[in-house]
Symmetry: C3
Subunit: 155 residues, 3 copies
Amino acid sequence: MADAIEKVSIIVSKGSLEGVYPALIMANGARMEGIEADLFFTFFGMDGIIKKRMNNLKVATVGNPGMHMPTVIGALPGMSAFATKMMSKKMDELDIPPVGEFIEMIHDAGGELYACKASVDMFGLTMEDFCPQVEDIISVGQFYERSVNAKIIFT
Amino acid sequence: MADAIEKVSIIVSKGSLEGVYPALIMANGARMEGIEADLFFTFFGMDGIIKKRMNNLKVATVGNPGMHMPTVIGALPGMSAFATKMMSKKMDELDIPPVGEFIEMIHDAGGELYACKASVDMFGLTMEDFCPQVEDIISVGQFYERSVNAKIIFT
Amino acid sequence: MADAIEKVSIIVSKGSLEGVYPALIMANGARMEGIEADLFFTFFGMDGIIKKRMNNLKVATVGNPGMHMPTVIGALPGMSAFATKMMSKKMDELDIPPVGEFIEMIHDAGGELYACKASVDMFGLTMEDFCPQVEDIISVGQFYERSVNAKIIFT
């Protein structure tokens, strides 16, 4: 029986604002408890570390009944931007920083960020595309090696 | 080597019917095997415990190619309600109860329900908004403390 | 302290191409490292093992801000087919096989595939509907039994 979690290995696979934030909140919460935290960005989740995109993530207003918005309205141009602005404002009030700053904060607190090699190849990216907090581009095998004593959380 | 899972800590992050049900089915399945089960509701997943919403969750008919429905049709007013009715009917035939009853059943079997503090603050909610089976509003740190000997399952 | 992961139990719950592939890539990566790998298909994720559907999975072009496509465009007939063709082409260039072949490969490498009993009942399916690599239809309880010494990854 362990008496504390040693590490969390959080996989970020979605590129929407409500896809990336839970992962960052869980990584940050882990560091605040002295738990090691790795963030592994894959597929569309890589938007969270791509310099040109990370501060422009949007809330999905369609395909998400949780938004309580009819699809015909959610699909109107501007609705996603509107919902995104509302959520960003709310996050700001709660002192939850924008994605870029949040990642800096987690990194400064000792969290480590990695990009998934298969996804990097698929989208034709390089380390140049990522924010400076990204440690390395690693394979699934390397991810597993880093996660031996971790709880794996796929978000 | 353990010879049985001791506990599962299931995070519910999506508010659609097909987002909430797998979490409830896994929590219920755990209790039936004598495995401890925590459910931790966060972001749009909180709809599963909000009294006014928990029995009106909808199936996402757009953004889900698994529905095998062209987006232009899935987006028509009423389509999500229709798919929801179909799925609810099917669940009923299989003796899978509606969300509210299902939560009662899991709670009566010893499963514990928690709401995520960051999400509660973001959406401006209180314990009054939740069904009576919700034990408490807890932080990510407290979630990790409760999950030391658990498999964490993020749904 | 373990010095390697013994097993991964990967749950596939989404039926989109970008929902199924990460699960297959993680299962395949596990087998390449000598890690045992179970794939457990549930809800819409079962499309990944249904013979008539597994090679026709589509990318979700709406409800996914990561696509960087306005919803009104993503919803046009043909856009999902177009995005799917682009992703399939890219995967092919990277030697990532189509779903059917990929599953064969993982199975030949020792990965085991299971369908979720509750979902099979809900959608009225039988073993006849599945590709021959599917070992069995099992309950959530049996899934937990198979996952005692595994990292559970819900995708």
